[in-house]
Amino acid sequence: MNHNYQKDIAGCGLTGLIHKKKKRVSGEAIVKSLCLMNDRGNGLGAGYAAYGIYPDFKDFYAIHIMYDDPSIRHTVEEFLKSNFHVEKTEEIPTSPVKHIAIAPLLVRYFATPLKERLVGGIEEEDFVVNTVMKINSEMEGVYIFSSGKNMGTFKGVGNPAEIAEFFRINEYEGYIWTAHTRFPTNTPGWWGGAHPFTLLDWSIVHNGEISSYGINKRYLEMYGYKLTLLTDTEVVTYLLDLLVRKHGLDVDVACKALTSPFWKDIDDMEKDEREAVTALRLTYGSALLNGPFSLLFGHSNGLVGINDRIKLRPLVAATKGDFVYMASEESAIRAICASPDRVWAPRAGEPVIVNLEV
């Protein structure tokens, strides 16, 4: 595959919604919202992540795999079977779409790690992460798109409508949705490079660029993460996994590490807060995200939206009853929620954190 891609003007559009009481809604809404921002992308990548879509298999890790090279499928499945109990294997249902002439083989597995493989007191989730890293970095032509429970990522090269039709997004029902249309600028437009980027139940969609990628990547590699997807956004997914799941930070504290306040503002804080934030910045200096970005991240308990610290990319949020919406443009929200209770533009670096209430 030729990953050489010329720089072009930036765009990208993202949108997400959550129902706080876990009412599941069809993918139709998020598709409609994303399609309104079609011109923010250029057809070189679109994708959707949804939570609550596999209630019948909610205790299994839903492993979505893309095979660039179908001949490796057998090897991968043998590897999986020697490490996991695989409850169900099926090709991800797709529909033929005119402009998607070539697609990789896409298969999903509902699986759970074999007890006897969890040796040395390794946590189940770490075992899954290690499996994802091993397959993505060591096996040629195969990538794991998502690996969380009761959630899944569906993405590829195409525009929002094409990818939605291809993956039959309208047929899924979830209580959290995120979606992205891509305008690749610094990295190649390929199936693995489309958003969302997912690990366990973390899924990220992102508009902008992570200029601190090099520092973040080296930092993550020290903890065993392998960055294989040729795109800056990948670091955000792994940083959240590290900070929240491994180090046990609350989501709001993790956000403060990723988009920490400027030193001049820290100097102005009261003593206790100043000391806490200083400690956080010093500890997680290598996790600081720099550059222009707005991003949404979904996880099993909620949805979070956040901007870079000087707001170089757009983000709008809105509420309507138990629904919360976030998108690059207000019109993308209004396309599916004509009269929100409240609409606002979150401030730079200040996350909008929405948690499920049930």
């Binding site: 707001k311 396309a335 401030r347 730079a348």
Partner: protein, 245 residues
């Protein structure tokens, strides 16, 4: 009055219809069911009025030279880029980077505005742009301001809440900013001087704000009850010798 139903129309088709109607001599056009269509009013040069029902997309009124756009709802980012004359009235809030390099005309916004409003706006003598927002503004308000007038009212701001963000007037080297309420100097750019608005300023403000109030149905006397701070650049051509050593 000419009506165009914009529901589901692609921005190019909508803007073609608007131009077509203007060409046929229509002077007042209502666009119904607008949602997210980019570039409305861009580059138009006449005295027409366009009423927009719904949320127009980014880059509204760019390079506009004459028309009046009335948005009955909220609006998005990049309004009035390099606009030359005319007026945009917004009955809701608006997004980031409003009036980028704007060189004439008016933006009247009822609600809050986002980041980098009035960035590099410029004005000379009679050609002087104005942006007035009734709510609050984000960081970098009036960044690199070179001319014209920015007015921020904070009409719904409660005591203790900030009206404007950090980096106020950073890089400002012309024009003036009026804030209705208090300004903390630590949030101002190094080039900015803060002072009380004097008699002359208040006269000017009353004139500009009377038109704003007429457009948006507000009471001018109520607005003028509160004190205004005036911000101007205090250094003259700080980089004038940069290439002259």
């Amino acid at each position: 009055m000419f009506v165009i139903d914009a529901r589901g129309l692609y921005f190019r088709d909508l803007n073609d219809k608007v131009r077509g109607a203007l060409k046929k001599g229509e002077t007042e056009i209502t666009l119904k069911n607008v949602n997210g269509q980019y570039y409305i009013g861009d580059g138009l040069r006449d005295g027409s009025t366009i009423i927009i029902e719904g949320v127009p997309g980014n880059d509204l009124a760019a390079f506009m030279d004459g028309p009046t756009l009335i948005v009955k709802d909220n609006a998005q980012d990049n309004i009035g880029n390099t606009m030359n004359s005319g007026k945009v009235i917004i009955h809701g809030h608006a997004g980031d980077v409003l009036g980028y390099g704007m060189r004439g005309g008016k933006l009247h916004i009822l609600g809050d505005v986002g980041y980098r409003v009035g960035i590099h706006m410029k004005g000379v003598k009679r050609q002087s742009p104005t942006i007035i927002a009734g709510g609050t503004a984000g960081n970098f308000f009036g960044e690199y301001l070179a001319g014209g007038t920015l007015i921020l009212l904070g009409l719904k701001t409660k005591k203790g809440e900030p009206i404007v963000g950090d980096y106020l007037g950073t890089g400002m080297h012309g024009g003036e900013i009026y804030i209705r309420g208090e300004v903390e100097e630590k949030y101002c750019g190094k080039e900015v001087g803060v002072m009380e608005a004097d008699e002359e300023d208040l006269k000017k403000l009353r004139k500009l704000l009377t038109e704003y109030c007429d457009d948006l149905g507000l009471d001018i006397d109520d607005i003028m009850k509160k004190k205004f701070k005036k911000l101007i650049p205090v250094s003259a051509r700080p980089y004038g010798n940069l290439y002259a050593y």
